[in-house]
Symmetry: C2
Subunit: 138 residues, 2 copies
């Protein structure tokens, strides 16, 4: 079972923003701190902003910050958003399912229930439980 790097980077960014909620972070700064691709991170930030989880301001002193208090952002919500185009197995996709077992399959509902349990467990925590601050900032 695997989450995408996209989701992983998004979670890292949100945890970092939650660590200093009044400061705006540039994508370049976050990418350098995390030692990850700036281009990849920029796409994640864009999706998080589009979903209203972070607010971005352009120009000097601009950047990204949490749009809502960290304790009002559940981890399940973040993962659902960032994994929106990922399907657990082929038959979960709205199109392109070639599985010959589909019409008589008794597994799919069980897999869906397991995925729901995964997300429900994540919904038990908010970003406030996962605040990240680099050691030198403490």
């Amino acid at each position: 079972m695997r989450l995408t790097t996209f989701t992983d980077f998004g979670l890292r960014a949100l945890m970092r923003l939650a660590g200093e909620p009044t400061r705006a972070f540039s994508t370049a700064e976050l990418a350098e701190e995390f030692a990850v691709s700036r281009h990849h991170l920029a796409k994640v930030i864009s999706v998080l902003a589009g979903a209203g989880l972070i607010a971005t301001r352009r120009g000097g002193g601009g950047g990204a910050m949490l749009a809502r208090p960290a304790d009002q952002i559940r981890l399940g919500e973040v993962v659902r958003l960032l994994e929106a185009d990922q399907v657990l197995v082929e038959c979960f996709a709205p199109a392109g399912n070639l599985c010959t077992l589909t019409p008589r399959c008794r597994l799919k509902a069980r897999l869906a229930k397991a995925e729901a349990a995964f997300l429900a467990e994540l919904d038990e925590s908010t970003l406030a439980d996962c605040i990240y601050t680099p050691a030198e900032k403490v």
Copy 2:
């Protein structure tokens, strides 16, 4: 969140074997019925056999069959086995974790708990709950 095609094919094969537990299936026959790569399926069968979930017999009339009654094979056990080399996120890998947040991360334990909830939910069902038989065999 995504399971590998390897796991998906393994589950399909086990569900099919469970449908006719006294018959030996050749990999070629299963691959044709499922319309999937025979080579890929052969690797899955080999792992399932290595783990003692299926028994294989060589030669004419040979093939694969369940090594244990279907009601004694939990879905979580199958998924744990087939996803053994998959990590939920980078830091779950024993080596090669480059995430700079790792030493101070408060997310990892929560992700691990969610993964455990996913597998625990699958452990509520056995292969006997997911028996598959093609329509023409019923």
